[in-house]
Symmetry: C2
Subunit: 163 residues, 2 copies
Amino acid sequence: MTNEQRLIDGALRAWKCNEERIEKFFRPLSEEQLQQEIMPGRNRLIYLWGHIAAVNDALFPLLGLGPKRYPDLDTMFLKNPDRTVPEIYTGREVARAADEINRGLWTAFTQWTTDEWLQKHTTVSAEDFAREPHRNRFTVVVGRNTHMAFHLGQAILTRPRAA
Amino acid sequence: MTNEQRLIDGALRAWKCNEERIEKFFRPLSEEQLQQEIMPGRNRLIYLWGHIAAVNDALFPLLGLGPKRYPDLDTMFLKNPDRTVPEIYTGREVARAADEINRGLWTAFTQWTTDEWLQKHTTVSAEDFAREPHRNRFTVVVGRNTHMAFHLGQAILTRPRAA
């Protein structure tokens, strides 16, 4: 491995670690358990899980990987607060969407060369990117990883505390 | 900037972003506000803030940067649950510790060459590191950044929700 590959590998390990923790937390929950609020009046677990999936799905267009795989997630879990959209995905549906999104992203992440990682993301102009080269795919993905951790920390609060 | 520097820069931006969000959240709180629990029976804000500082302080020895700056944080905010240690730092004391820890880490982070970033951390043996070169400083720091986000997500739940 070159130094560049080692740096990318470090970031990808952190991504995978979070992705797996999220899967391990949410996937075993029943539909009923997913209705639990993280705190009274706050988001339900199903909303947090769908929200993480929606935000990751938005990486496809942002990183130049084509359209969102599950654009409906946006309305249900991103643009509107929890409980304001009459019909949202079940846990089983979120699980399937998250799985496809994660696999699609991982395929790209593990194939890009360093130069591809350092390409601009799609919402920055070539002109702005010349001045601000940090607006690249790698920075986006590292930041999005902390987004996953942020909400995982919230979801985990629903776990009964060890005595 | 070389490609290597750009990759490191991307990770450092994510670190700085989290560090600043944490500062911005906790520092304006009064000692009384810091006594608030994130949920009934769970950690108080002062504990979360001290915990983040303690875990970051542990990076000094782990990354070969000398001893912990505030080893007392460990007992108060890491090894023992909240409310089990009779005397803990005040918010003002945590603020000062966090500030010194963050500045010390940032100085190292912004000075290391790529080779220095990819050196092994101190708790892996040279032999294991030869087999597992991902156990380097860069991977540690990227992972520790998600630790900050994880707890920031929890702390933010104490904010009144916008109507």
